[in-house]
Protein backbone atom coordinates (compact mmCIF):
# COMPACT_ATOMS: atom_id res chain seq x y z
CA UNK A 1 0.00 0.00 0.00
CA UNK A 2 1.35 3.41 -0.92
CA UNK A 3 1.86 5.94 1.82
CA UNK A 4 -0.30 9.02 1.73
CA UNK A 5 1.83 12.13 2.11
CA UNK A 6 -0.72 14.88 1.62
CA UNK A 7 -4.11 14.77 3.26
CA UNK A 8 -6.70 17.50 2.92
CA UNK A 9 -9.88 17.01 4.89
CA UNK A 10 -12.77 19.30 4.19
CA UNK A 11 -10.50 22.25 3.54
CA UNK A 12 -12.13 25.60 2.90
CA UNK A 13 -10.17 28.72 2.18
CA UNK A 14 -11.46 32.22 1.85
CA UNK A 15 -9.74 35.49 1.22
CA UNK A 16 -10.39 38.55 3.24
CA UNK A 17 -10.92 41.37 0.82
CA UNK A 18 -10.72 45.04 1.58
CA UNK A 19 -13.71 45.94 -0.54
CA UNK A 20 -13.36 49.67 0.00
CA UNK A 21 -10.08 49.97 -1.74
CA UNK A 22 -9.08 53.51 -2.43
CA UNK A 23 -11.35 54.08 -5.36
CA UNK A 24 -13.13 57.07 -3.97
CA UNK A 25 -13.80 58.78 -0.75
CA UNK A 26 -17.33 59.42 -2.01
CA UNK A 27 -18.02 55.69 -2.12
CA UNK A 28 -16.78 55.47 1.39
CA UNK A 29 -19.14 58.17 2.60
CA UNK A 30 -22.17 56.93 0.69
CA UNK A 31 -21.89 53.20 1.22
CA UNK A 32 -22.05 52.98 4.97
CA UNK A 33 -18.77 53.92 6.49
CA UNK A 34 -19.82 51.87 9.50
CA UNK A 35 -19.98 48.49 7.84
CA UNK A 36 -17.01 46.20 8.07
CA UNK A 37 -14.54 47.12 5.37
CA UNK A 38 -13.76 43.47 4.73
CA UNK A 39 -15.63 40.75 2.97
CA UNK A 40 -14.87 37.07 2.70
CA UNK A 41 -14.43 35.64 -0.72
CA UNK A 42 -14.58 31.89 -0.68
CA UNK A 43 -11.95 30.35 -2.92
CA UNK A 44 -11.85 26.69 -1.98
CA UNK A 45 -14.94 24.76 -0.86
CA UNK A 46 -14.62 21.62 1.23
CA UNK A 47 -11.70 20.10 -0.58
CA UNK A 48 -10.92 16.48 0.18
CA UNK A 49 -7.75 15.24 -1.36
CA UNK A 50 -5.24 12.54 -0.64
CA UNK A 51 -1.98 12.29 -2.52
CA UNK A 52 0.36 9.32 -2.23
CA UNK A 53 4.10 9.21 -2.19
CA UNK A 54 5.56 9.19 -5.67
CA UNK A 55 2.35 10.23 -7.34
CA UNK A 56 2.16 12.85 -10.07
CA UNK A 57 -0.99 14.89 -9.81
CA UNK A 58 -2.09 17.33 -12.48
CA UNK A 59 -4.34 20.18 -11.42
CA UNK A 60 -6.56 21.66 -14.10
CA UNK A 61 -9.15 24.39 -14.12
CA UNK A 62 -9.96 27.75 -15.55
CA UNK A 63 -8.20 30.91 -14.39
CA UNK A 64 -9.16 31.98 -10.93
CA UNK A 65 -10.77 28.72 -9.88
CA UNK A 66 -8.41 28.08 -7.00
CA UNK A 67 -5.48 26.11 -8.42
CA UNK A 68 -2.74 28.32 -7.04
CA UNK A 69 -4.59 28.70 -3.78
CA UNK A 70 -4.71 24.93 -3.48
CA UNK A 71 -0.95 24.69 -3.96
CA UNK A 72 -0.31 27.46 -1.45
CA UNK A 73 -2.54 25.76 1.08
CA UNK A 74 -0.59 22.54 0.70
CA UNK A 75 2.67 24.47 0.98
CA UNK A 76 1.48 25.88 4.28
CA UNK A 77 1.50 29.44 3.03
CA UNK A 78 -2.26 29.79 3.48
CA UNK A 79 -3.96 28.55 6.60
CA UNK A 80 -7.39 27.05 5.83
CA UNK A 81 -10.48 28.49 7.55
CA UNK A 82 -11.87 25.08 8.29
CA UNK A 83 -10.66 21.54 7.76
CA UNK A 84 -7.19 20.15 8.11
CA UNK A 85 -4.25 19.98 5.79
CA UNK A 86 -1.64 17.43 6.72
CA UNK A 87 1.58 17.10 4.80
CA UNK A 88 4.02 14.49 6.03
CA UNK A 89 6.95 15.14 3.73
CA UNK A 90 9.26 18.07 3.57
CA UNK A 91 7.59 20.96 1.82
CA UNK A 92 9.41 22.89 -0.83
CA UNK A 93 8.35 26.28 -2.12
CA UNK A 94 5.76 26.64 -4.83
CA UNK A 95 7.49 27.08 -8.13
CA UNK A 96 5.59 29.87 -9.80
CA UNK A 97 6.70 32.34 -12.39
CA UNK A 98 8.90 35.04 -10.94
CA UNK A 99 7.96 34.14 -7.40
CA UNK A 100 10.74 34.55 -4.92
CA UNK A 101 13.00 36.30 -7.37
CA UNK A 102 14.31 39.73 -6.46
CA UNK A 103 14.46 41.63 -9.72
CA UNK A 104 17.19 44.08 -8.75
CA UNK A 105 19.61 41.38 -7.64
CA UNK A 106 21.70 39.12 -9.82
CA UNK A 107 20.92 35.53 -10.65
CA UNK A 108 23.68 34.32 -8.34
CA UNK A 109 22.42 36.37 -5.42
CA UNK A 110 18.94 35.09 -6.05
CA UNK A 111 20.13 31.49 -5.96
CA UNK A 112 21.81 32.08 -2.61
CA UNK A 113 18.80 33.83 -1.13
CA UNK A 114 16.56 31.07 -2.36
CA UNK A 115 18.77 28.43 -0.76
CA UNK A 116 18.73 30.35 2.50
CA UNK A 117 14.98 30.84 2.35
CA UNK A 118 14.35 27.17 1.77
CA UNK A 119 16.73 26.24 4.56
CA UNK A 120 19.31 24.58 2.35
CA UNK A 121 22.17 27.01 2.46
CA UNK A 122 25.50 25.52 3.43
CA UNK A 123 28.81 27.19 2.92
CA UNK A 124 30.57 24.13 1.62
CA UNK A 125 27.90 23.03 -0.84
CA UNK A 126 26.73 26.34 -2.24
CA UNK A 127 29.37 26.44 -4.97
CA UNK A 128 28.43 23.03 -6.32
CA UNK A 129 24.72 23.91 -6.11
CA UNK A 130 25.35 26.99 -8.19
CA UNK A 131 27.21 24.88 -10.74
CA UNK A 132 24.24 22.52 -10.89
CA UNK A 133 21.85 25.40 -11.44
CA UNK A 134 24.07 26.94 -14.08
CA UNK A 135 24.44 23.64 -15.92
CA UNK A 136 20.76 22.81 -15.92
CA UNK A 137 19.48 26.28 -16.71
CA UNK A 138 22.07 26.71 -19.50
CA UNK A 139 22.53 30.26 -18.29
CA UNK A 140 26.10 31.46 -18.64
CA UNK A 141 28.04 32.86 -15.69
CA UNK A 142 27.85 36.22 -17.37
CA UNK A 143 24.07 36.02 -17.43
CA UNK A 144 23.92 34.83 -13.84
CA UNK A 145 25.86 37.90 -12.82
CA UNK A 146 23.28 40.19 -14.39
CA UNK A 147 20.37 41.61 -12.42
CA UNK A 148 17.38 39.39 -12.88
CA UNK A 149 15.28 42.28 -14.16
CA UNK A 150 17.22 42.08 -17.40
CA UNK A 151 16.18 38.47 -17.96
CA UNK A 152 13.52 37.43 -20.41
CA UNK A 153 10.51 35.53 -19.04
CA UNK A 154 11.97 32.32 -20.38
CA UNK A 155 15.26 32.94 -18.62
CA UNK A 156 13.41 33.66 -15.37
CA UNK A 157 11.63 30.35 -15.68
CA UNK A 158 14.93 28.57 -16.36
CA UNK A 159 16.50 30.12 -13.30
CA UNK A 160 13.53 29.40 -11.03
CA UNK A 161 13.07 25.83 -12.21
CA UNK A 162 16.77 24.96 -12.08
CA UNK A 163 17.18 26.45 -8.63
CA UNK A 164 14.31 24.51 -7.14
CA UNK A 165 15.39 21.34 -8.91
CA UNK A 166 18.95 21.63 -7.63
CA UNK A 167 17.68 21.18 -4.09
CA UNK A 168 16.23 17.76 -4.97
CA UNK A 169 12.84 18.34 -3.42
CA UNK A 170 10.64 15.56 -2.12
CA UNK A 171 7.53 17.46 -2.95
CA UNK A 172 7.58 19.43 -6.15
CA UNK A 173 4.87 21.98 -6.80
CA UNK A 174 4.89 23.56 -10.22
CA UNK A 175 2.57 26.41 -11.05
CA UNK A 176 2.66 27.01 -14.80
CA UNK A 177 6.35 27.60 -15.08
CA UNK A 178 7.01 25.48 -18.13
CA UNK A 179 4.65 27.44 -20.34
CA UNK A 180 7.15 30.20 -21.05
CA UNK A 181 10.26 28.11 -21.67
CA UNK A 182 11.30 27.21 -25.18
CA UNK A 183 10.65 23.75 -26.60
CA UNK A 184 14.06 22.40 -25.70
CA UNK A 185 13.87 23.53 -22.13
CA UNK A 186 10.34 22.22 -21.71
CA UNK A 187 11.47 18.76 -22.79
CA UNK A 188 14.41 18.94 -20.43
CA UNK A 189 12.13 19.91 -17.56
CA UNK A 190 9.70 17.11 -18.24
CA UNK A 191 12.57 14.66 -18.29
CA UNK A 192 13.81 16.02 -14.99
CA UNK A 193 10.33 15.80 -13.46
CA UNK A 194 10.22 12.12 -14.44
CA UNK A 195 13.61 11.60 -12.84
CA UNK A 196 12.63 13.11 -9.51
CA UNK A 197 9.39 11.20 -9.66
CA UNK A 198 11.23 7.94 -10.20
CA UNK A 199 13.44 8.85 -7.28
CA UNK A 200 10.31 8.89 -5.13
CA UNK A 201 9.29 12.53 -5.16
CA UNK A 202 5.68 13.60 -5.27
CA UNK A 203 4.76 16.07 -7.97
CA UNK A 204 1.86 18.53 -8.08
CA UNK A 205 1.57 20.11 -11.48
CA UNK A 206 -0.60 23.04 -12.46
CA UNK A 207 -0.83 23.71 -16.16
CA UNK A 208 -3.12 25.01 -18.84
CA UNK A 209 -1.67 22.71 -21.38
CA UNK A 210 -3.72 19.48 -21.26
CA UNK A 211 -1.23 17.50 -23.35
CA UNK A 212 1.50 18.40 -20.93
CA UNK A 213 -0.61 17.28 -18.00
CA UNK A 214 -1.33 13.93 -19.66
CA UNK A 215 2.34 13.52 -20.46
CA UNK A 216 3.66 14.37 -17.01
CA UNK A 217 0.93 13.15 -14.67
CA UNK A 218 -0.79 9.87 -14.02
CA UNK A 219 -3.55 11.33 -11.92
CA UNK A 220 -5.51 14.50 -12.52
CA UNK A 221 -8.05 16.66 -10.77
CA UNK A 222 -10.18 19.38 -12.25
CA UNK A 223 -11.29 22.37 -10.22
CA UNK A 224 -14.40 24.40 -10.83
CA UNK A 225 -15.38 27.31 -8.62
CA UNK A 226 -13.21 26.02 -5.83
CA UNK A 227 -14.54 22.47 -5.84
CA UNK A 228 -12.97 19.31 -7.18
CA UNK A 229 -15.34 18.18 -9.92
CA UNK A 230 -13.23 15.33 -11.18
CA UNK A 231 -10.56 13.22 -9.51
CA UNK A 232 -9.38 10.45 -11.75
CA UNK A 233 -6.68 9.66 -14.27
CA UNK A 234 -5.13 12.62 -15.99
CA UNK A 235 -6.91 11.64 -19.24
CA UNK A 236 -10.32 11.86 -17.58
CA UNK A 237 -9.46 15.12 -15.87
CA UNK A 238 -8.41 16.59 -19.19
CA UNK A 239 -11.74 15.54 -20.75
CA UNK A 240 -13.54 17.23 -17.88
CA UNK A 241 -11.37 20.29 -18.39
CA UNK A 242 -12.40 20.49 -22.05
CA UNK A 243 -16.04 20.16 -20.99
CA UNK A 244 -15.68 23.34 -18.95
CA UNK A 245 -15.43 25.29 -22.15
CA UNK A 246 -18.41 23.76 -23.94
Amino acid sequence: MEKSVIQLNDVSVSYLHNKRGIYSIKDFMLKGAFLSPFEHKQVLHNINLEVYKGQTLGILGKNGEGKSTLLRTIAGIIVPDTGTCKVTIEISPVLALGAGLELELTGLENIKIYMALSGRYQKNTIASLIDTVAAFSELSMEQLKMPVKMYSTGMLARLAFSTVMATQPNLLMIDEVLAVGDKGFQEKCKKRIHEVKNAGATVLFVSHNPEEVMEVCERGICLKEGKIICDSTSQDAVKEYYNLFN
Binding site: Y15, L16, H17, N18, I22, P37, F38, R72, A75, G76, I77, I78, V79, I91, P93, V94, L95, A96, G98, A99, G100, L101, E102, E104, L105, E109, K112, I113, A116, L117, S118, G119, R120, Y121
Partner: protein, 251 residues
Protein backbone atom coordinates in the same frame (compact mmCIF):
# COMPACT_ATOMS: atom_id res chain seq x y z
CA UNK B 1 18.22 25.07 12.17
CA UNK B 2 19.56 28.04 14.11
CA UNK B 3 22.31 28.54 11.59
CA UNK B 4 19.83 28.31 8.69
CA UNK B 5 17.74 31.05 10.27
CA UNK B 6 20.78 33.24 10.70
CA UNK B 7 21.87 32.67 7.10
CA UNK B 8 18.41 33.68 6.08
CA UNK B 9 18.46 36.89 8.10
CA UNK B 10 21.99 37.56 6.88
CA UNK B 11 20.98 37.24 3.25
CA UNK B 12 17.87 39.31 3.69
CA UNK B 13 19.90 42.05 5.35
CA UNK B 14 22.37 41.82 2.49
CA UNK B 15 19.49 41.99 0.05
CA UNK B 16 17.94 45.04 1.72
CA UNK B 17 21.22 46.91 1.76
CA UNK B 18 21.90 45.98 -1.85
CA UNK B 19 18.50 47.21 -2.90
CA UNK B 20 18.91 50.40 -0.93
CA UNK B 21 22.31 51.39 -2.21
CA UNK B 22 22.55 49.57 -5.51
CA UNK B 23 21.98 52.57 -7.70
CA UNK B 24 23.70 55.18 -5.57
CA UNK B 25 27.25 56.34 -6.11
CA UNK B 26 27.97 57.13 -2.49
CA UNK B 27 26.30 54.04 -1.04
CA UNK B 28 26.98 53.61 2.64
CA UNK B 29 28.33 57.13 2.94
CA UNK B 30 24.73 58.31 2.92
CA UNK B 31 24.17 56.97 6.40
CA UNK B 32 26.72 59.58 7.46
CA UNK B 33 25.87 62.32 4.98
CA UNK B 34 22.13 62.35 5.55
CA UNK B 35 22.33 63.31 9.27
CA UNK B 36 25.29 65.56 8.58
CA UNK B 37 23.28 67.57 6.14
CA UNK B 38 20.46 67.98 8.67
CA UNK B 39 23.00 69.01 11.25
CA UNK B 40 24.33 71.78 9.03
CA UNK B 41 20.85 73.10 8.38
CA UNK B 42 20.02 73.04 12.08
CA UNK B 43 23.22 74.72 13.01
CA UNK B 44 22.57 77.40 10.48
CA UNK B 45 18.94 77.99 11.39
CA UNK B 46 18.74 77.38 15.10
CA UNK B 47 22.09 77.87 16.78
CA UNK B 48 21.42 81.57 17.30
CA UNK B 49 17.87 80.95 18.47
CA UNK B 50 18.94 78.38 21.02
CA UNK B 51 22.21 79.98 21.95
CA UNK B 52 21.63 79.19 25.64
CA UNK B 53 22.41 75.52 24.84
CA UNK B 54 26.07 74.82 25.27
CA UNK B 55 27.73 72.80 22.49
CA UNK B 56 24.61 73.15 20.38
CA UNK B 57 25.92 70.99 17.52
CA UNK B 58 26.68 68.13 19.86
CA UNK B 59 23.25 68.53 21.43
CA UNK B 60 21.52 68.30 18.07
CA UNK B 61 23.61 65.54 16.60
CA UNK B 62 23.15 63.19 19.55
CA UNK B 63 19.40 63.32 19.04
CA UNK B 64 19.41 63.61 15.31
CA UNK B 65 21.26 60.43 14.42
CA UNK B 66 18.89 58.41 16.56
CA UNK B 67 15.90 60.15 15.10
CA UNK B 68 17.02 59.33 11.57
CA UNK B 69 17.60 55.71 12.54
CA UNK B 70 14.12 55.64 14.07
CA UNK B 71 12.41 57.29 11.14
CA UNK B 72 14.19 55.22 8.47
CA UNK B 73 13.44 51.99 10.30
CA UNK B 74 9.76 52.78 10.71
CA UNK B 75 9.46 53.74 7.06
CA UNK B 76 11.13 50.53 5.93
CA UNK B 77 9.23 48.30 8.35
CA UNK B 78 5.89 49.78 7.45
CA UNK B 79 6.48 48.52 3.89
CA UNK B 80 8.26 45.29 4.71
CA UNK B 81 5.45 42.80 4.16
CA UNK B 82 4.26 44.57 1.05
CA UNK B 83 7.73 44.71 -0.44
CA UNK B 84 8.34 41.05 0.26
CA UNK B 85 4.93 39.94 -0.94
CA UNK B 86 6.43 37.83 -3.73
CA UNK B 87 8.36 35.83 -1.14
CA UNK B 88 5.46 35.57 1.29
CA UNK B 89 3.29 34.22 -1.51
CA UNK B 90 5.63 31.44 -2.52
CA UNK B 91 7.53 30.39 0.57
CA UNK B 92 6.44 28.99 3.86
CA UNK B 93 8.90 30.90 6.02
CA UNK B 94 8.11 32.63 9.27
CA UNK B 95 7.01 36.08 8.16
CA UNK B 96 8.74 37.69 11.09
CA UNK B 97 12.10 37.26 9.34
CA UNK B 98 11.22 40.09 6.97
CA UNK B 99 10.79 42.85 9.57
CA UNK B 100 13.65 41.45 11.63
CA UNK B 101 16.03 41.62 8.69
CA UNK B 102 14.71 45.03 7.74
CA UNK B 103 15.51 46.31 11.22
CA UNK B 104 18.86 44.54 10.98
CA UNK B 105 19.82 46.31 7.80
CA UNK B 106 18.80 49.67 9.21
CA UNK B 107 20.87 48.91 12.29
CA UNK B 108 23.88 48.11 10.13
CA UNK B 109 23.68 51.38 8.25
CA UNK B 110 23.01 53.28 11.47
CA UNK B 111 26.09 51.79 13.12
CA UNK B 112 28.20 52.53 10.07
CA UNK B 113 27.25 56.16 10.33
CA UNK B 114 27.45 56.19 14.11
CA UNK B 115 31.10 55.17 14.14
CA UNK B 116 31.95 58.20 12.02
CA UNK B 117 29.77 60.44 14.16
CA UNK B 118 31.71 59.42 17.25
CA UNK B 119 34.72 61.18 15.77
CA UNK B 120 32.65 64.21 14.93
CA UNK B 121 31.16 64.27 18.42
CA UNK B 122 34.61 64.02 19.96
CA UNK B 123 35.58 67.02 17.93
CA UNK B 124 32.45 68.84 19.08
CA UNK B 125 33.34 68.31 22.71
CA UNK B 126 31.91 64.96 23.79
CA UNK B 127 33.10 63.76 27.20
CA UNK B 128 35.20 60.66 26.97
CA UNK B 129 34.62 58.30 29.87
CA UNK B 130 33.29 54.85 30.62
CA UNK B 131 29.73 56.14 30.73
CA UNK B 132 29.88 56.16 26.93
CA UNK B 133 29.55 52.38 27.00
CA UNK B 134 25.96 52.81 28.18
CA UNK B 135 25.11 53.76 24.63
CA UNK B 136 25.35 50.11 23.55
CA UNK B 137 22.46 48.78 25.66
CA UNK B 138 20.53 51.94 24.81
CA UNK B 139 20.96 51.20 21.10
CA UNK B 140 19.66 47.68 21.67
CA UNK B 141 16.65 48.92 23.62
CA UNK B 142 15.95 51.66 21.11
CA UNK B 143 16.14 49.13 18.27
CA UNK B 144 13.60 46.86 19.96
CA UNK B 145 11.29 49.82 20.51
CA UNK B 146 11.64 50.93 16.90
CA UNK B 147 11.14 47.40 15.67
CA UNK B 148 7.93 47.05 17.68
CA UNK B 149 6.48 50.26 16.36
CA UNK B 150 7.55 49.39 12.82
CA UNK B 151 6.02 45.93 13.09
CA UNK B 152 2.69 47.42 14.15
CA UNK B 153 2.80 49.81 11.20
CA UNK B 154 3.88 47.06 8.83
CA UNK B 155 1.13 44.64 9.86
CA UNK B 156 -1.62 47.25 9.73
CA UNK B 157 -0.32 48.62 6.47
CA UNK B 158 -1.05 45.33 4.72
CA UNK B 159 -4.74 45.78 5.38
CA UNK B 160 -5.01 49.54 5.18
CA UNK B 161 -2.45 51.23 3.00
CA UNK B 162 -3.56 54.46 4.65
CA UNK B 163 -1.37 53.53 7.61
CA UNK B 164 1.82 53.98 5.64
CA UNK B 165 0.62 57.24 4.16
CA UNK B 166 -0.57 58.48 7.54
CA UNK B 167 2.79 57.61 9.05
CA UNK B 168 4.61 59.59 6.40
CA UNK B 169 2.32 62.51 7.15
CA UNK B 170 2.82 62.38 10.89
CA UNK B 171 6.54 61.73 10.71
CA UNK B 172 7.65 65.39 10.37
CA UNK B 173 5.21 66.47 13.06
CA UNK B 174 6.68 63.92 15.44
CA UNK B 175 10.12 65.17 14.53
CA UNK B 176 9.34 68.71 15.61
CA UNK B 177 7.41 67.57 18.65
CA UNK B 178 10.36 65.55 19.89
CA UNK B 179 12.99 67.62 21.60
CA UNK B 180 15.75 67.13 19.04
CA UNK B 181 16.69 70.63 17.99
CA UNK B 182 15.70 72.24 21.27
CA UNK B 183 15.62 71.46 24.97
CA UNK B 184 12.46 71.02 26.95
CA UNK B 185 13.21 74.17 28.94
CA UNK B 186 11.86 76.40 26.15
CA UNK B 187 8.46 74.68 26.32
CA UNK B 188 5.84 76.54 28.39
CA UNK B 189 5.24 74.81 31.70
CA UNK B 190 1.67 73.76 30.96
CA UNK B 191 2.67 71.80 27.83
CA UNK B 192 5.60 69.95 29.33
CA UNK B 193 3.37 67.15 30.53
CA UNK B 194 2.22 66.43 26.97
CA UNK B 195 5.75 66.46 25.65
CA UNK B 196 6.65 63.83 28.18
CA UNK B 197 3.96 61.53 26.82
CA UNK B 198 6.08 61.12 23.73
CA UNK B 199 8.14 57.94 24.23
CA UNK B 200 10.90 59.37 22.11
CA UNK B 201 11.42 62.14 24.66
CA UNK B 202 12.57 59.61 27.25
CA UNK B 203 14.85 57.87 24.79
CA UNK B 204 16.45 61.11 23.73
CA UNK B 205 16.84 62.03 27.36
CA UNK B 206 18.94 58.99 28.20
CA UNK B 207 20.84 59.20 24.92
CA UNK B 208 21.81 62.78 25.77
CA UNK B 209 22.75 61.81 29.30
CA UNK B 210 25.39 59.58 27.79
CA UNK B 211 26.52 61.36 24.63
CA UNK B 212 26.00 64.99 25.57
CA UNK B 213 26.39 65.23 29.34
CA UNK B 214 28.76 62.33 29.73
CA UNK B 215 26.89 60.88 32.69
CA UNK B 216 25.17 57.57 33.32
CA UNK B 217 21.59 57.50 32.00
CA UNK B 218 19.10 58.65 34.60
CA UNK B 219 17.44 55.68 36.17
CA UNK B 220 13.84 56.72 36.07
CA UNK B 221 13.98 57.54 32.37
CA UNK B 222 15.61 54.20 31.73
CA UNK B 223 12.73 52.56 33.54
CA UNK B 224 10.25 54.50 31.43
CA UNK B 225 12.01 53.35 28.27
CA UNK B 226 12.06 49.74 29.41
CA UNK B 227 8.34 49.78 30.20
CA UNK B 228 7.42 51.55 26.96
CA UNK B 229 9.50 49.09 24.95
CA UNK B 230 8.03 46.06 26.69
CA UNK B 231 4.46 47.28 26.20
CA UNK B 232 5.08 48.19 22.56
CA UNK B 233 6.72 44.87 21.87
CA UNK B 234 3.82 43.01 23.46
CA UNK B 235 1.24 44.93 21.44
CA UNK B 236 3.26 44.45 18.25
CA UNK B 237 3.44 40.68 18.71
CA UNK B 238 -0.27 40.51 19.50
CA UNK B 239 -1.20 42.44 16.38
CA UNK B 240 1.22 40.47 14.25
CA UNK B 241 -0.09 37.10 15.51
CA UNK B 242 -3.65 38.18 14.94
CA UNK B 243 -3.03 39.44 11.44
CA UNK B 244 -0.34 37.29 9.88
CA UNK B 245 -2.69 34.70 8.40
CA UNK B 246 -4.63 37.40 6.62
CA UNK B 247 -1.56 38.94 4.99
CA UNK B 248 -1.65 36.73 1.97
CA UNK B 249 -5.10 37.75 0.84
CA UNK B 250 -4.23 41.42 0.95
CA UNK B 251 -0.83 41.36 -0.69
Amino acid sequence: MISQKSYLVYFLIYKNLQLKYKHSLLGFAWSFLHPLFYLLVFNFVFSKAFSQIEHYSLFVISGLIFWIYFSNSCNQLSQTFIRNSHLIKSLNVKKLVYPVSEQGSELVSFLAGFVLFIFLMLYLGMHVNFNLLYILPIIVLFSVFTFSLGLILGALNVFFRDVGILWNTLNPALFYLSPIAYGLDIIPEKYVFYFKLNPLYHFFYIIRDVLYSGTAPSLHHVLYCLIITAVCFGIAMLIYRKMRNGFISNL
